[in-house]
């Protein structure tokens, strides 16, 4: 898996987005996971909530740091990756697939245009 997969979109806050129809799967990038270190806990308290683009949807903790998670597209949080509760290390091992964090029903597809593609994201890290 490449460090910055081409098929994904990215936010400046180091989240990635995978769009299928109007469902967005969201996680954090390899760069973010590496800066945080060993992930120990993910806290998403916004299930079923409708959020606007770049609202905080949760927090991610490593041993020595904690970071806010910001939603890259406006939408309703419809699913949280339950596997991460017992296995937060999935985010370190495989942040783009096994380590996905939430699924969102997109409410404003215009938001996608303000996201970065892989080459644009590479420039900012």
């Amino acid at each position: 898996m490449s460090e910055i997969p081409n098929n994904l979109k990215y936010s400046k806050d180091h989240e990635w987005v995978n769009i299928e129809d109007n469902i967005a799967t969201i996680g954090i990038t390899l760069h973010a996971a590496e800066s945080l270190g060993d992930i120990v806990y993910i806290d998403v308290s916004s299930l079923n909530q409708e959020l606007n683009q770049f609202d905080k949807f949760g927090e991610i903790e490593s041993v020595k740091a904690v970071s806010d998670l910001f939603i890259p597209v406006s939408g309703k949080v419809i699913e949280i990756n339950q596997d991460l509760e017992g296995n937060p290390e999935y985010v370190n091992d495989d942040c783009y697939e096994k380590g996905w964090i939430i699924k969102v029903e997109i409410t404003n597809s215009n938001d996608l245009s303000s996201l970065l593609d892989s080459s644009e994201y590479e420039k900012i890290i």
């Binding site: 806990y41 806290d43 903790e61 490593s62 041993v63 020595k64 740091a65 904690v66």
Partner: protein, 437 residues
């Protein structure tokens, strides 16, 4: 001319170091300090040599009446219990006394394993899921517990049961006054009230020593979507049901009674325990078990992302200190007395207190007003309490706490295993004669 035995540097050491640094005198290092305020005069009390220190403090210590007392019945949040020789021996070990916060776990397994034992024994004592490594004292632990409940429930309304002492309430006020918290008396809310509350605070044994039906209160507050927080007296848990069996969500206590000297109010240790689902909102240091790179069982500070050095303004608390040394005393104490010893001490306190109370009640001019108490009870007297206390003190007996209010002369006596039956009987015979004075 050196004044201090705690500074090894000689004049020639200093000269050599200054030369290496590349300056002529110490003053040359202080270029950033405003010249007008450099080297102010320091007019402190005169220095005392070591033998003079012993003499001076010995003299000062004797200005307290403590050393003259045969026995004492003072309680009210701090209690005179026996401190075993094992406790005194272990805290003198320099490796425990002079180490610091275990940031480097490989160099601090002593402190960390002791802290883990502390957490283990307190969770056993309280029968709660989780305990942290120690707060400053009981009252601050309770205040932090209330704030913790507000964070968990996202609700800032705190209910206070009338069992909670004024002192605990004052500390809670200090901790919450700028956080938009509403503190409401439990007795003031009527049963038809539809509101939700974050928590209900109850003290059992109460401020008057009485055992409260905590489980009943727990059911009530859970119906209001709030948490039950119980503040307790650890020694009582040798006899009385612990918080974990009463559906308590967060339980706190003052650890002084389990192995810590009175020492005029401190250092003490705050006990803070909770149900496991609340663990990420728990303030203070927490020690966890893990393995090292070779798979060896070992201990480290954990869940540090709750704390101020990482979360800063979003921390669960600003607390940095963890009273681990006092935690060591508590751990050695509980391991020394064991389950049988705790039961024995607890029953001794209970029965001696009840004996004392029922005998006082028989004396003219004294009435027992506490019901269902553990080891502290309130007596209403005809005479002014100060008079009674001075009379007992003149016989080298330190009496109970004067809690007189309005026109009532009230005194609260605490009885522990340190009040031997002979001294209790002597106190009773003095009280019987008080009306002849």
């Amino acid at each position: 001319m050196k004044n201090s035995p705690y500074i090894p540097a000689t004049n020639s050491d200093q000269v050599e170091m200054l030369k290496t640094i590349g300056v002529n005198s110490f003053k040359d290092l202080l270029t950033d300090v405003p010249k007008s305020h450099l080297f102010p005069e320091l007019k402190l009390q005169e220095m005392l040599s070591e033998p003079e220190l012993v003499d001076y403090f010995n003299h000062l210590s004797k200005k307290n009446i403590t050393f003259k007392k045969k026995t004492s019945f003072l309680g009210g949040g701090a209690y005179n219990h026996y401190i075993p020789s094992t406790v005194k021996a272990m805290i003198q070990r320099g490796e425990f006394l002079t180490s610091y916060t275990p940031y480097q776990p490989e160099a601090s397994q002593g402190t960390l394993q002791v802290g883990f034992e502390f957490q283990s024994m307190i969770t056993q004592l309280f029968e709660m899921d989780v305990c942290n490594a120690g707060m400053y004292d009981g009252p601050t632990a309770l205040a932090e517990a209330a704030l913790m409940a507000c964070r968990i429930k996202k609700n800032k309304k705190i209910l206070i049961h009338n069992s909670v002492s004024k002192k605990l309430l004052e500390v809670l006020n200090s901790y919450s006054k700028w956080q938009d918290v509403e503190i409401i008396n439990f007795e003031d809310i009527n049963s038809m009230n539809e509101d939700d509350y974050s928590c209900l605070l109850v003290q059992s044994p109460s401020q008057n020593g009485e055992i409260i039906d905590v489980e009943n209160l727990s059911n009530l507050i859970h119906k209001k979507n709030g948490l039950l927080i119980q503040h307790t007296y650890p020694i009582s848990l040798g006899l009385i049901k612990p918080p974990g069996q009463l559906n308590v969500d967060i339980a706190t206590g003052e650890g002084q009674s389990i192995g810590v000297p009175l020492s005029f109010g401190g250092p003490y240790i705050g006990l803070l325990t909770c149900k496991k689902e609340f663990i990420r909102q728990l303030p203070g240091r927490i020690i966890g078990q893990t393995v090292d790179k070779k798979g060896k069982t070992s201990y480290a500070l954990t869940l540090q992302t709750r704390e101020q050095h990482i979360r800063r303004e979003n921390a669960t608390s600003n607390i940095c200190t963890s009273t681990q040394l006092i935690g060591l005393m508590v751990s050695v104490y509980l391991a020394t007395i064991g389950p049988e010893g705790l039961k024995q001490i607890s029953e001794t306190c209970f029965h001696r207190a009840h004996y004392f109370a029922s005998e006082i009640n028989k004396i003219d001019g004294f009435k027992l007003i506490s019901n269902n108490f553990f080891n502290e009870f309130v007596i209403e007297a005809d005479k002014n309490i100060n008079e009674i206390n001075n009379y007992l003190l003149s016989n080298n007996i330190e009496s109970g706490l004067n809690i007189s209010s309005g026109k009532k002369n009230l005194i609260m006596f605490a009885v522990t295993e340190m009040n031997n039956p002979k001294d209790i009987d002597e106190t009773l015979s003095l009280l019987r004669r008080i009306n002849d004075q």
